[in-house]
């Protein structure tokens, strides 16, 4: 076999293999192998088992943000033109003090539970404001009784 024949056969053989590896089904097999065994693991919430609940939750959050906020902003706030009548306690609360014996554990400070109920009137309707302090955190609840045709 001459050198030129040998070279020609080599070129032919290499072309044959080059065409083989370019086939679409071979490239597809490569992609499938990588995606099935050697791709980055998805976070658990992106796995198919979680995809439907996750999408539902994402949808609910988006709905709340996009639709819920403008609706909330449309609710009239009954704070203007209000007149407040305060109901004072009938008699003053006596001041109590005590002295602990030396060595006794100090009692934890207790905040007296203060409840403040106020009535207010706004152009929407009668309003009741209920305020209570839990430790240092004030919690305020407002009831509004809108008059007919005001909402």
């Amino acid at each position: 076999m001459s050198d030129s024949d040998e070279k020609h056969t080599r070129n032919l053989y290499r072309s044959f293999l080059r065409q083989e590896i370019k086939r679409t089904d071979i490239q597809q097999a490569k992609k499938e192998l990588i995606s099935a065994h050697f791709s980055k693991e998805k976070p658990f919430f992106l796995k198919p088992a979680f995809s439907i609940p996750a999408l539902s939750l994402a949808g609910a959050v988006m709905f709340a943000l996009l639709v819920g906020r403008p609706l909330l902003e449309k609710i009239p706030v009954p704070v203007k033109k209000q007149s407040v009548r305060l109901e004072q306690a009938a008699q003053p609360v006596p001041l109590v003090s005590s002295v602990s014996p030396p060595g006794a554990p100090k009692a934890l400070p207790v905040n007296p539970t203060l409840v403040d109920v106020k009535w207010a009137v706004s152009d929407v309707g009668p309003t009741m404001v209920y305020q209570k302090h839990f430790q240092d955190v004030p919690v305020t609840i407002i009831w509004v009784f809108p008059r007919e045709g005001k909402l």
Partner: protein
């Protein structure tokens, strides 16, 4: 020894599948070509190529880096292909590619200066002849052929990869080239 794949191999050794995926992306064609060169059977070659990568990933911790990753990979590939060829019974011939879809694939390009319908038909005919010629070789002969003509390894490297003497490599290669030359003689000139 400077191995360009060293950093990816180190990452893959820690269990990083994505890093190994990059190695698969880089070397899939090489592995497939070597395996197909030995088996000469498309579906079997796809399966063996996949098994090779899975095996290499499993055994990556045992890879000490004395040879380049690429060298280790084609050695595993050619030996996996030869094992597969020996497992098959003679009745289940590996010497058949999937001819059903051969009409859709591009033909082997030899001197395609003005490919008209006649040229394309001739090239398709040439591919069939080449298929038939390769079929007549044993898996051992094909292994030597693919390592020499495709991977361009030296006789020493082929001998080390296959665990045979250099003289055996040379005689197998001579036989394989002669056989292909005989079968293609005249046909190629006609094209």
């Amino acid at each position: 020894m400077n191995d360009p794949d060293d950093s990816l191999v180190r990452e893959a050794k820690t269990g990083d599948k994505a890093a190994f995926g990059k190695l698969v992306n880089k070397y899939y064609e090489m592995v497939y070509a070597v395996v197909f060169g030995v088996l000469h059977h498309r579906e079997a070659a796809k399966d063996v190529a996949q098994e090779v990568f899975l095996k290499v990933f499993r055994e990556l911790l045992g890879f000490e880096g004395k040879a380049k990753f690429k060298t280790w990979l084609y050695r595993v590939s050619v030996n996996a292909a030869l094992d597969q060829a020996r497992k098959r019974r003679p009745a289940e011939s590996l010497d058949a590619t999937d001819k059903s879809s051969d009409d859709d694939e591009p033909p082997v390009v030899i001197t395609d200066k003005s490919p008209g319908p006649r040229d394309r038909a001739a090239q398709r005919e040439l591919r069939v002849l080449l298929d038939q010629a390769i079929e007549q070789l044993s898996a051992d002969h094909r292994a030597v052929l693919v390592l020499r003509e495709w991977q361009e390894l030296s006789y020493e490297e082929i001998a080390e990869t296959l665990g045979v003497e250099i003289g055996t490599v040379m005689s197998r290669l001579h036989y394989a080239r002669k056989k292909l030359g005989e079968l293609l003689k005249g046909k190629v000139e006609r094209v």
